[in-house]
């Protein structure tokens, strides 16, 4: 035998739990002797599992110069039969991605993606509008039972959290403004602040944000799961329209329920404010009388109109994200997240638009 030959022996059981160190040693032995032939003595090998097979395969396939080959000796024929003989190229990870993108191209692609998402949303809203218009004149098209059950889940069950948040919001605003106004002896005008803020803005806004987190996410997850389970495909192949079947009941329920919740938030918000101002020596009767002069019915109605539009936007976004769900559990989670984030962004944007439109 050639003196220069390096021998490395594999013995006993080579399994997933022992192969790590053996592999590292063997790789070192190969690397230390780049131009000497290597013999791997496998005659005392008792057992190998799939990882052992991979080890021997890896040692054999190394690209080494002529005269420095790796030879495996004494491998039991039944084990040798397991060593695959396929082309190593098949095992390489396929190249992915191609060339990297430049900054301008990335900005362009991101812009296009946003624009097409907005276009899809608008198309979806238009489709919903068409479906609703078609449904209204014909009896039995809208599934009112479904509308009621969605309204109960999204509305009635949300009452406690809306009450809590509405009340605390009234308390906080009254307290914060009250502390400042006290220094100027203008505590009575805090009533105006609380009234306008709660009725025109915060009642609807906070209710919508709660609704987005609670119900928008639920819509996306429910419809998304139905999409993943191919229930949506089943609806389509029955010749039914998923918009009418799944989306319209949710849209209608949301448009009805968010304003109702907002009324509750308004009432407890103002009550919270009154409670705090009682501490600033403004009694309930005085509060009430001043409030009547400070806010009008139009403030209340503006809040309700906003609430209805927020409800429509949240439900539409939730349903659209649900229907756009890909496949698998992960995409349901992504849809729910995206529904909440997009809803909240749109609530604020719509609120801004509303305020500007009404003021001008």
């Amino acid at each position: 035998m050639d003196v220069d030959v390096v021998t490395f022996s594999l013995k006993g059981r080579v399994t997933v739990h022992t192969v790590g160190s053996i592999w590292a040693e063997a790789a070192q032995a190969l690397a230390r002797n780049p131009d000497r032939p290597i013999v791997i003595d496998a005659s005392r090998l008792e057992y190998i599992d799939a990882t052992g097979i991979a080890l021997i395969y890896d040692l054999q396939r190394g690209r080494r110069p002529a005269g420095a080959e790796v030879e495996i000796r004494g491998l039991d024929p039944s084990l040798a039969a397991l060593i695959p003989s396929y082309d190593p190229v098949e095992l390489e990870e396929p190249a992915r991605g191609g060339r990297g993108l430049g900054a301008i191209e990335r900005i362009g692609r991101a812009t296009l993606a946003q624009l097409s998402a907005a276009a899809r949303m608008l198309t979806f809203l238009a489709d919903c509008g068409v479906a609703l218009l078609q449904a209204i004149p014909r009896r039995g098209i809208i599934r009112w039972g479904e509308v009621l059950s969605v309204a109960a889940e999204a509305g009635a069950n949300a009452v406690p959290i809306v009450l809590l948040i509405g009340f605390l919001m009234g308390v906080i605003i009254a307290f914060e403004i009250g502390l400042v106004a006290q220094q100027f002896g203008a505590v009575i005008f805090v009533v105006d602040g609380v009234g306008v803020a709660v009725l025109r803005e915060l009642g609807a806004l906070m209710t919508a944000i709660v609704f987005a987190g609670r119900t928008g996410a639920a819509f996306a997850a429910q419809i998304g799961t139905q999409k993943v389970n191919e229930e949506v495909s089943a609806i389509v192949t029955f010749g039914l329209d998923p918009l009418r079947f799944l989306v319209l009941p949710r849209l209608i329920a949301a448009v009805l329920v968010v304003p109702l919740l907002t009324v509750l938030a308004d009432v407890v918000g103002i009550f919270g404010g009154a409670l705090v101002l009682a501490g600033f020596n403004i009694g309930f009767v005085q509060f009430y009388n001043h409030l009547l002069g400070a806010v009008g019915i139009e403030d209340f109605l503006v809040g309700l109109a906003k609430a209805a539009i927020f409800g429509l936007a949240i439900a539409a976004i939730g349903c659209q994200r649900g229907l756009a769900t890909g496949a698998g559990a992960t995409s349901v989670g992504l849809s729910a997240t995206s529904a909440v984030v997009t809803s909240i962004v749109w609530i604020v944007v719509l609120d801004g638009l509303f305020t500007v439109l009404i003021s001008s």
Binding site: G20, A24, Y47, T51, A54, P84, P94
Partner: protein, 267 residues
């Protein structure tokens, strides 16, 4: 009754031993008095009509569900009465493929197969990738290694699931309906893979299936359950069950003849 052929070159402890097992959900009993052994290097098939409790039996055997009574021994140790640490150790020695593959949706196929190696071994990343690719190659999934599970067909999910079940070098593999829903060629290849792994590595297989062709091809022994009888109604070599069973239900199953004169209705 099952020891004769297997004891020749197998140790005396069965790889899996099911003792007088009673399983069910709530108060509904699916199966009672089930006893059988799986010997090392054997391919045992659990078969029976839909809804007879095949998959539930397997889930009891791997310690996922607690049986109503009886015991399951893995290499002589009870998985039913084991504490949580000991049960986890016993379960790591089992490779399990679930009906729909049960791949993790957030990982690629390659990462799914590599997952047990990442968790339990100190093998380098390059090497782990090589092992995972070779396992995938074995189930003819090498081309799909960078896809996400959501992008795979049902058969591909199963095959990737088998590759993942083998990753930790488990000597006992439990496969829940591996060839259901696969095309005949892929199913035959899978059968060949199972036979090859048994012959070369001496792995033990417990396969839940009702694919006749596959049963006759791979099974050393079969255990047949029946939904109405709620017990094991036959045990033996599949071809003998088919040709010589005294039980009408067994012959009906193997000959695919639900309309033959029957004691109870066929599957």
């Amino acid at each position: 009754m099952d020891g004769d052929e297997a004891t020749a070159n197998a140790p005396t402890t069965p790889a899996v031993s099911v003792r007088d097992l009673k399983i069910g959900y709530g108060s509904r009993v699916l199966l009672e008095g089930a006893s059988f052994d799986v010997w090392r290097g054997e391919i045992l098939v659990i078969l029976g009509g839909s809804g007879c409790g095949k998959s539930s039996l397997m889930k009891n055997m791997i310690g996922l569900y607690q049986p109503m009574a009886g015991d399951v021994l893995i290499a002589g140790e009870s998985i039913v009465r084991a504490g949580s640490t000991q049960r986890a150790r016993l379960q790591r020695g089992l490779g399990v493929m679930y009906q729909a593959g049960a791949l993790f949706g957030s990982l690629t196929v390659l990462e799914n197969v590599r997952f047990p190696l990442d968790e339990f071994t100190d093998i380098g990343l390059e090497q782990k990738n090589l092992i995972a690719r070779m396992l995938l190659h074995q189930v003819e999934m090498a081309d799909a290694q960078s896809l996400m599970p959501a992008e795979l067909s049902g058969g591909m999910l199963k095959r990737a699931g088998i590759a993942r079940a083998m990753a930790l070098g488990a000597e006992i593999l439990m496969l829940d309906e591996p060839s259901a829903g696969l095309d005949p060629i892929t199913a035959a290849n899978l059968d060949r893979t199972i036979l090859g792994l048994r012959d070369s590595l001496g792995l033990t297989f417990v396969v839940v299936t009702h694919e006749l062709q596959s049963i006759l091809e791979i099974a050393d022994r079969a255990v047949m359950l029946d939904a109405d009888a709620r017990r094991i109604i036959a045990e033996g070599v599949p071809s003998e069950l088919r040709d010589r069973s005294g039980d009408e239900r067994v012959r009906q199953f193997f000959n695919r003849r639900p309309d033959a004169p029957a004691i109870s209705r066929g599957s």
